[in-house]
């Protein structure tokens, strides 16, 4: 359960194959494990370490640097209310306080039904639409306490399932590079020369002189 499943190892290898060095896939693979398990487990970090050729300590070091990785279970929905300047100027504190009351938790806590974890977030790049929030990284703009109540009710009742996947899934579309179209990643050590279009252009410029 906690290590990546066979199907996800295939996805992981496809992702790793796009980078000149497998270690670059660390963050995408940690996301993949979080998508599978809902949070990042120790076993998953050890597995990612095996896959990318790092130690589990190195993967732990990377994982703990980033806000989105959770190391214990969170609610099905992570509701992040922005508290940075533009949102704060337009009532973010009141909104956060209201959310705490609505959910019966303090910031950082998970509602008793296990459905919603509440967080205070930093700037979400929606400053003109303040105050804003994200639920599993899907936006809601110009929130009011009333709109927040309706939103959380809808979320918990499953009425937004089509739009908002459970915690762990960020993008629902993945990049796929078709084998016949991709150039393929090459280790930097294996390249010494300028790419073909640069050297060819240089040669033809020389020739025309």
């Amino acid at each position: 359960m906690s290590r990546l499943t066979e199907a996800n190892v295939i996805v992981a290898k496809e992702i790793m194959g796009r980078y000149p060095k497998a270690r670059s896939a660390t963050i995408p693979l940690l996301h993949l494990s979080q998508q599978q398990n809902g949070y990042v487990t120790n076993e998953a970090m050890a597995h990612v370490a095996e896959l990318v050729g790092a130690t589990s300590a190195e993967i732990l070091g990377t994982a703990t640097f980033y806000e989105m990785f959770k190391f214990e279970p969170v609610g099905k929905y992570l509701v992040n209310i922005c508290g940075t300047m533009s949102c704060a100027l337009l009532g973010a504190e009141e909104l956060i306080h209201h959310a705490e009351q609505k959910l019966g938790v303090k910031v950082g806590g998970t509602s008793a039904d296990g459905m919603v974890t509440l967080e205070r977030a930093e700037c979400q790049a929606a400053c003109t639409e303040a105050p804003c929030l994200q639920a599993n990284y899907r936006f809601r703009y110009r929130m009011t306490p009333q709109a927040l109540d309706t939103f959380i009710d809808d979320l918990v009742a499953g009425r937004l399932d089509g739009e908002i996947p459970p915690h762990g899934t960020v993008a629902r579309v993945r990049q796929h590079i078709p084998a016949d179209r991709g150039v393929g990643a090459v280790a930097p050590e294996a390249v010494d020369d300028a790419p073909l279009w640069v050297s060819a252009a240089a040669t033809s410029t020389e020739a025309s002189k």
């Binding site: 060095k21 790049a125 993008a171």
Partner: protein, 467 residues
């Protein structure tokens, strides 16, 4: 409030040239079909018909300034790679997270093919053999839109091997982060892309163009910067420099938020548009909400020292804004009206930077946290006058010497120009001090009003219940 429900926040009132937002009025602007039908990939075709050097020269001639914050010309940056060292990489900075900034996310969600085309043009011109498009982790829709667009572009032959039948071949790899503001710093972005903690690298080397991803020459460009290139290739550098001024040509996207009547994202003419136009102009924000008075504004994202109504007539011109004591940064204006509690507003930004400090440099890790704590107790009405002096002392340890600030006739202050000296590797530490310094320098009386003189009560008297 929004002009187009599918481009939330974007407003295009007014008859201004559109270099990067020309498709935002179309609901399906993110699809390949619509992109191609509206002139998409024509810039790539134009570029491929010329030599990489000719394309590079055109970008240099256009003086496309970086739109990420530092405003460094892209063409010059591409030229900083050391001769004869290969491979070279392109890393696209889509980690938009500077407080107040909202433009790159729109560009990725609304016109992902324009960005992809920009990546291709840059890679062709600068001889970059692989491109990594790093999107902020929290931007789920942007990741989906760019992933879909890349899949379409590969299938149609715009990305990958022998693009449009030419010698030009490149993979564009979608990469996504996991939440860390500091990763927007270009060397931290590279560390993160190498699978490590996103800690900025020690300088020198100053530019990843010399030593970057995997130790190789790497160009790091902002999303908006690259989004300018397709238009530039089709229309040429003469048409590009005909917009704006000689030193700040073209347009730029600006988000205006806070206490204005009509907050929004606008594509403005660079160099000539003033802050007054933006805040009060009919085609822009239409003034302060509820007929209130403007008190202060942040002109270039959370890291920019604050301005007051005295600076409203400054245009969007880096040198002038720098001399006036701030910076244009990432095109983010946050407006505060006269009802704003200034110390509390400053705290929201200082808390941000304290939270986002990577912890590498002591002056930032400790200093930003101290600033947050001290400011926090002042805001709560538990501060002392000594606290105010102490915040300047802490700031001095992050940024020794004169710190930039705006002029004030009322206070008899002359502007101290940008930039500052710093004891840290990157700009997060100084940025934590920016709001504290600006607010204390320009609005000292508001802090004084919050100070409560605590009575010193001898311990013995306390024990006896004598107070």
């Amino acid at each position: 409030m929004t002009t187009y429900p599918w481009a939330v926040g974007y407003i295009d009132d007014g008859d201004r040239p559109k270099v990067v937002t020309s498709r935002f009025h179309l609901e399906d602007s993110y699809t390949l079909e619509r992109y191609v039908a509206t002139g998409g990939y024509d810039g790539l075709k134009a570029a491929l018909g010329r030599t990489p050097t000719a394309v590079h020269d055109d970008v240099k001639a256009a003086t496309v300034l970086g739109r990420g914050g530092a405003g460094f010309p892209a063409g010059t940056k591409w030229g900083l790679t050391p001769q004869g060292v290969w491979p070279r990489y392109l890393v696209v900075n889509g980690d938009e997270s500077e407080p107040g900034t909202y433009k790159d996310r729109l560009l990725m969600e609304r016109d992902p093919h324009q960005l992809i085309e920009g990546c291709l043009i840059a890679s062709y011109a600068a001889g970059l053999s692989q491109c990594f498009l790093y999107i902020r982790g929290e931007m789920a829709l942007a990741q989906e839109r760019v992933a879909t667009a890349l899949n379409e572009a590969y299938a149609a032959g715009y990305v990958g091997k022998n693009i449009l039948g030419s010698d030009f071949s490149i993979d564009i790899v979608l990469h996504w982060g996991a939440g860390a503001y500091v990763v927007g710093e270009e060397t931290a972005l590279i560390e993160s892309l190498e699978g490590k903690r996103g800690e900025p690298r020690l300088k020198p080397p100053f530019f990843p163009a010399a030593v970057g991803l995997y130790g190789r020459p790497t160009i790091v460009n902002n999303v908006e910067t690259l989004a300018n290139l397709p238009w530039l290739m089709v229309n040429g550098s003469v048409a590009y420099t005909a917009i704006g001024t000689v030193t700040s040509p073209g347009t730029r996207m600006v988000a205006v938020s806070g206490h204005v009547r009509r907050p929004g994202v606008y594509e403005i003419i660079n160099g000539t548009t003033t802050f007054r136009d933006l805040v009060y102009g009919e085609e822009f924000c239409q003034g302060i909400r509820e007929g209130n008075e403007l008190k202060a504004f942040v002109p270039g994202g959370g890291s920019a020292p604050w301005f007051t109504p005295e600076q409203l007539d400054l245009p969007f011109e880096g040198k002038l804004v720098g001399a006036a004591g701030s910076m244009l940064g990432s095109g983010a204006i946050m407006v505060m009206d006269h009802t704003t509690d200034i110390p509390a507003a400053a705290l929201t930004l200082t808390r941000f930077y304290a939270h986002e400090s990577c912890g590498q440099c002591t002056p930032c890790r400790e200093g930003a946290t101290w600033l947050e704590r001290v400011l926090s107790r002042v805001v709560d009405g538990r501060g002392t006058h000594a606290d105010l002096d102490q915040m300047f002392e802490i700031g001095e340890s992050i940024c020794p010497g004169t710190f930039p600030h705006a002029a004030s006739t009322e206070l008899g202050l002359v502007a101290a120009p940008f930039p500052y000296k710093m004891t840290t590797i990157c700009f997060v530490g100084p940025s934590a001090y920016v709001p504290v310094h600006s607010a204390l320098t320009l609005f000292r009386s508001e802090f004084d009003a919050k100070i409560v003189e605590r009575k010193r009560i001898p311990v013995s008297a306390q024990a006896a219940g004598a107070h």
